[in-house]
C-alpha cells in the first residue's frame, strides 16, 4: 500500500515538472516571441500607449454616439465572466427582454407603420384595464410576485417608500400579518404585492416612479410619485400591453440586441443589430458635429460593411461586427463625443 503511494507521489512530482513547468514554459516562450499580440490578450492601445482594452473582450459603451455591445449579465466585468443563467421558461428573462423592447418597439403595419408603440402603451396604461379587469399595477404585482419584490429591494429609495407606506397603512399591514402568520414582522419586500394592490387602488392608472424636481431651495430633489407616462410605464408594462393586443403586428428586434451572452463579454454584434442601431448613432454624431444626418449615416454604413466579417467569405458563421473595432473607427473619424 505504502509502496503504491510512494510510486504515485513520485510519478506526480515528475509529471508536475513536465506538465506544469516545461510544457507551459515552452509554450510561453514561443507565444511571447512568435505571436506576442495574441499571447498577451489582443490588447489595443491609444496613441499614448495606454491600454484601451482587448479586441476580444466586450467593454461597456453607454453613449448614444457608439454602437452598444450585447447586454451583459457580468456588467462587462472582465474579471468575473458570467451569463444570466436564466432558464428559457424563467419569467425574469422575458421581463428583462420586454423592458428593453418596450421603449423601442414600432408598428410593422397599419396606419401607424414605423411609429413607436410607447405612446399607445401609456394611453392603455392610463385607462387602467387589463384583460377587461381594472387595476393594471395590482394585476401585475399579483402575477409576478418576485418582480414586484425586486422593485422594492432593487433601489433603496423604493424600499424607503414602501416602509413609509407600511407605517401609514397599519391596518393593511396587520391584515397581511393575519393572513401570513409565519411572518409576524414583514419586511418591505414581503409586503410588495399588497403595497402595489393598495397603490393601484389609490392611484388608478399610475405607477410609483422616481421623479426629480427642483425643490424650494433651488436644488434638484428626487422623490417617488405616481406617474402615468415615461420609461417605467413603457418598459415594465409593455409585456402586459402586448398580451392585451396580441394581433397587432410589430417590427421584430434582432435577438442579439436583447439577449445576454454566455460570457457576458461577447465582443461582437450581428450586422443586423448594428444596422438597427445605425439611425441612433448617425443622428447623434450628426448632432454633435453639426453634420448632415444622411451623409453621416452613409459614412457609418460604409464603415459597418467594411468591418463586418464572416470567415471564409461567409461559408462558416454569419456576418458579425466587433463593437470595439467599429467604435474605434468612429472615434478616429469624428473625435470625442460631445
Amino acid at each position: 500500500m505504502l509502496r503504491y503511494f510512494a510510486k504515485s507521489f513520485a510519478l506526480i512530482a515528475v509529471a508536475v515538472v513536465v506538465t506544469c513547468g516545461i510544457y507551459p514554459a515552452i509554450l510561453w516562450a514561443i507565444g511571447q516571441t512568435v505571436f506576442p499580440f495574441q499571447a498577451n490578450g489582443s490588447i489595443v492601445r491609444n496613441a499614448d500607449g495606454a491600454v484601451i482594452g482587448s479586441m476580444l473582450v466586450a467593454q461597456p459603451f453607454t453613449k448614444d454616439e457608439y454602437f452598444q455591445p450585447r447586454p451583459s449579465a457580468a456588467s462587462y466585468d472582465a474579471t468575473a465572466s458570467t451569463s444570466s443563467g436564466y432558464a428559457p421558461s424563467n419569467y425574469a428573462l422575458r421581463d428583462r427582454v420586454a423592458r428593453v423592447i418596450g421603449p423601442i418597439a414600432t408598428y410593422a403595419s397599419g396606419d401607424k407603420k414605423g411609429q413607436a408603440v410607447a405612446p399607445d402603451v401609456e394611453t392603455w396604461f392610463q385607462a387602467d384595464k387589463f384583460g377587461g379587469n381594472p387595476h393594471i399595477v395590482a394585476q401585475w404585482a399579483d402575477a409576478h410576485n418576485s418582480i414586484a419584490q425586486a422593485w422594492v429591494t432593487g433601489d433603496p429609495t423604493h424600499g424607503a417608500f414602501v416602509d413609509d407606506w407600511s407605517k401609514a397603512h397599519d391596518a393593511v399591514v396587520q391584515d397581511w400579518i393575519k393572513k401570513n402568520p409565519a411572518t409576524p414582522q414583514p419586511k418591505g419586500s414581503d409586503l410588495a404585492v399588497v403595497f402595489f394592490e393598495n397603490f393601484s387602488n389609490d392611484h388608478p392608472g399610475a405607477f410609483p416612479s422616481s421623479v426629480t424636481k427642483t425643490g424650494a431651495d433651488g436644488k434638484p430633489a428626487t422623490s417617488i410619485e405616481p406617474v402615468n407616462t415615461g420609461s417605467d410605464i413603457q418598459s415594465i408594462f409593455f409585456d402586459m400591453w402586448r398580451s392585451d393586443h396580441p394581433d397587432v403586428a410589430l417590427n421584430d428586434v434582432p435577438a442579439d440586441l436583447v439577449t445576454a451572452s454566455a460570457s457576458g463579454l461577447d465582443p461582437d454584434i450581428t450586422l443586423e443589430n448594428a444596422e438597427f442601431q445605425l439611425d441612433r448613432v448617425a443622428a447623434k454624431w450628426a448632432d454633435d458635429k453639426k453634420l448632415k444626418v444622411d451623409d453621416v449615416r452613409k459614412e457609418i454604413e460604409a464603415i459597418l460593411q467594411d468591418k463586418a466579417h464572416a470567415p471564409w467569405g461567409g461559408l462558416i458563421g454569419e456576418k458579425l461586427v466587433n463593437v470595439l473595432d467599429v467604435n474605434l473607427e468612429l472615434h478616429k473619424r469624428y473625435g470625442d463625443p460631445a
Binding site: 512530482a13 491600454v51 451569463s83 422575458r94 427582454v97
Partner: protein, 571 residues
C-alpha cells in the same frame, strides 16, 4: 436556410477532421500500448525512463487485475490528496498575484475529487477563486494524469479481450506514464500553440487594467490560458480557466478556435476506438463501436441544433426575431451549429466544458444533453472512459443476445459467464443508484433546494442534471444551480468519486476474468458482433436500459417544461 447550410458545413468539416486524425492516432496508440516502438520513442524515451526511475517502476513487469486496480485507486488517492493540499494552502504558496485566500474545505474536496475523476465539475469561478499556482500545478497536472489513468483502464480492458489465457493485464504505472507522455502531452502541445495563435493568451500576468474608449475603468483577467485550454479539451476534462469556460473570448476567441475545440474533445475517444480495432486485430469490431457512437451522437446533435435554431417562444411572443435562434446564454461567434456541436460533444464525451449556457437552452436541448450523460457518456465517450463504458454495454448486449437465441455468450472469442455479468450489472446499476438516490434526496431537502436557480420543472432538471453529470464524471452543469454550497459540494463530490472508482474496479475485474480465458475461434454458433444486426440490437439495449431507469425523471423535468413553454407558461 443560409444559416442551415453554413452550420452544416461547419459540422461536417469538424467531424471529417476528427476521423481523418483519429485513424493514424489510433494506430499510433495501438503500437504504443503493445510495447512497439513509435515515432516519438527516440525523443520521449529518456523522459519516460526518468519517470520509471523516479517512481521505481520496472516497466517490463506486468500486473494482475487486482494489483492494477489497487494501483489505479491509490494513484487517484494520491492525486486527490496533493491537489487538496495545494488548494487549502494556496494563500501561502507562490504565484498568487491576485492574493486569493485558501479554498474552503468543502469546495477544496469537491475540486480535488472533480479534477482527479476527470469530471471537472466546477462549483467555482476560476478567475475569482484560484491562484495561478492552483490552476497550473493543481489542475493542469491532474488534467493530464487523470486522463492518462482513464486511458490506462480502457487499454487494460482491451488487452484482456485480445490476450489468450493471460494472468496479467498490463502495468498501470507504465500505461499511465505512456498515455500522458506519448499521447496527451505532444498533442496538447501542438493544440496549445494553435490556440495561442488564434488569440488564446499565454502569459504570466494576472490582470490588465484598461481605460475604455469612453474612459471607464475595466480590469481584464488573463493568465496562462492556452496551455490549460489544450489539455482541458484534449483530455476531456472540461475545467475552464474562466467561469464562462469555453464561452469566454480568451478561452475560445473565434469560430476557428471553436472548430478546433470541438475537434480536440472528440479526437482521442474516437482514436481509441480505432486503437481497439487494431489491437483486436479486427478493424470491423472497432467500426461497429464507432457506428454505434456516431448514431447516438448525430441524433442528439440534430435535436439540439433544430430546437436551438427555432428560438425561444416566450421571447418571440414579445417581438424578438426568432431567426437567430435561442441567443440568451450564447456568444455570437460560434453560431447555433457551433454551439449545438459543442453541447453534444461535451456531453457525449466526458468533457463537460461549455461554450453556451445549457441552463438557457431550450428544454429539449437540455433533455438531449442529459440523455447523453445518462447513457454514461459513450458517444464517443470520455478519453478511455467512453471505450470501456461502451465495451461494458457490448458485453451485456452480447450476453442478452446469445441467450435470446440459445447460444453461449461470447465476445471476441471470450466466453462471458455469470460472474462477469454480475460485475457488469454492478457497474451498470451504479449510475442510476447514484443519480436517483441523490436527486431524490435533493428534491426534498431544503438546503439543497435553496440552490436552485429556476422554478417549475426546470428546477428538477437542474437537480437531475447535476447528479447525472457528476455520476458520469462529465462535469457540465445547468449554470442556474448554485452548486458551491456544502450540500452540493459534498454530494456531487461523492457521486463523482464513486462514479469513477466504483465503476472502474468492476471493469478491471471483468478484464482480469476475460484475460484468463481461452480465446475461442469463431464458429457457426458465434453471434457476430460487427454487423448491422448487432449494432441495432446494441443501440436498442442502450436506449431501453436508460429509458427504464430515467423516464419518469425526464418526463417531469425537461419534457414537462417543453410543453409548458410552448403553451406560454413561465415560472
Amino acid at each position: 436556410m443560409f444559416r442551415t447550410v453554413t452550420g452544416f458545413f461547419e459540422i461536417v468539416f469538424t467531424l471529417a477532421l476528427v476521423v481523418v486524425a483519429a485513424r493514424p492516432l489510433g494506430a499510433y496508440m495501438a503500437d504504443l500500448f503493445q510495447n512497439r516502438r513509435t515515432v516519438l520513442t527516440p525523443i520521449l524515451g529518456p523522459i519516460e525512463r526518468a519517470f520509471y526511475w523516479a517512481a521505481g517502476v520496472k516497466s517490463e513487469d506486468e500486473q494482475e487485475w487486482d494489483a492494477y486496480a489497487i494501483s489505479m485507486v491509490l494513484f487517484g488517492g494520491a492525486c486527490m490528496l496533493s491537489l487538496y493540499a495545494i488548494l487549502r494552502l494556496q494563500a501561502w504558496l507562490p504565484l498568487n498575484p491576485q492574493g486569493f485566500p485558501a479554498v474552503p474545505p468543502d469546495l477544496a474536496f469537491n475540486i480535488a475529487v472533480s479534477f482527479v475523476t476527470n469530471a471537472n465539475w466546477q462549483a467555482y469561478g476560476g478567475e475569482t477563486t484560484l491562484s495561478h499556482l492552483s490552476q497550473m500545478v493543481g489542475l493542469t497536472a491532474n488534467n493530464f494524469l487523470d486522463s492518462g489513468a482513464a486511458i490506462a483502464i480502457a487499454v487494460a480492458l482491451v488487452r484482456a479481450l485480445t490476450r489468450n489465457e493471460s494472468t496479467t493485464i498490463g502495468n498501470f504505472w507504465v500505461d499511465v506514464t505512456r498515455a500522458t507522455l506519448y499521447v496527451l502531452l505532444p498533442v496538447a502541445f501542438v493544440l496549445a500553440l494553435v490556440f495561442a495563435a488564434f488569440g488564446v493568451p499565454q502569459t504570466l500576468v494576472g490582470s490588465i487594467g484598461a481605460a475604455t474608449l469612453e474612459g471607464l475603468k475595466q480590469t481584464i483577467a488573463i493568465g496562462p490560458v492556452a496551455s490549460q485550454e489544450a489539455i482541458k479539451l484534449l483530455g476531456d476534462n472540461g475545467g475552464g480557466f474562466f467561469n464562462a469556460n469555453s464561452a469566454h473570448p480568451f478561452e475560445n476567441p473565434s469560430v476557428w478556435s471553436n472548430i478546433l475545440q470541438n475537434w480536440s474533445q472528440l479526437v482521442l475517444p474516437v482514436a481509441l476506438v480505432f486503437a481497439f480495432g487494431r489491437m483486436a486485430g479486427d478493424a470491423k469490431q472497432g467500426r461497429a463501436l464507432l457506428i454505434t457512437m456516431a448514431v447516438i451522437f448525430v441524433m442528439a446533435l440534430a435535436v439540439i441544433w433544430k430546437v436551438e435554431a427555432a428560438g425561444n417562444p416566450a421571447l418571440t411572443a414579445i417581438g424578438v426575431d426568432p431567426s437567430q435562434g435561442v441567443m440568451e446564454g450564447k456568444d455570437l461567434r460560434f453560431g447555433q451549429a457551433g454551439a449545438a456541436l459543442f453541447a453534444d460533444a461535451t456531453t457525449g464525451t466526458g468533457t463537460g466544458a461549455s461554450n453556451a449556457v445549457l441552463e438557457s437552452m431550450a428544454p429539449i436541448s437540455g433533455l438531449a444533453a442529459m440523455f447523453n450523460l445518462l447513457l454514461g457518456c459513450i458517444s464517443p465517450g470520455g478519453v478511455g472512459t467512453g471505450l470501456y463504458s461502451l465495451l461494458l454495454l457490448v458485453l451485456i448486449t452480447a450476453f442478452i443476445g446469445a441467450l435470446m437465441i440459445g447460444r453461449t455468450p461470447e465476445y471476441l472469442g471470450k466466453k462471458i459467464n455469470a460472474r462477469d455479468m454480475q460485475f457488469a450489472m454492478f457497474a451498470l446499476l451504479l449510475s442510476p443508484a447514484l443519480v436517483l438516490v441523490f436527486a431524490g434526496g435533493a428534491s426534498v431537502v431544503k438546503i439543497a433546494l435553496d440552490s436552485l436557480g429556476a422554478g417549475g420543472p426546470h428546477g428538477l432538471s437542474e437537480i437531475v442534471y447535476a447528479y447525472a453529470s457528476s455520476a458520469a464524471d462529465n462535469g457540465s452543469a445547468f449554470a442556474g444551480l448554485n452548486a458551491n454550497t456544502p450540500w452540493w459540494n459534498v454530494t456531487t463530490g461523492v457521486a463523482m468519486f464513486l462514479g469513477r472508482f466504483a465503476h472502474a474496479i468492476p471493469i478491471l475485474a471483468i478484464a482480469g476474468s476475460l484475460a484468463a480465458k481461452k480465446k475461442a475461434m469463431p464458429s457457426a454458433g458465434t453471434l457476430p458482433t460487427d454487423g448491422p444486426l448487432f449494432i441495432t440490437f446494441l443501440l436498442a439495449v442502450i436506449v431501453i436500459i436508460t429509458l427504464l431507469q430515467y423516464l419518469p425523471a425526464l418526463a417531469l423535468g425537461p419534457v414537462a417544461e417543453h410543453f409548458l413553454l410552448q403553451q406560454g407558461t413561465l415560472f
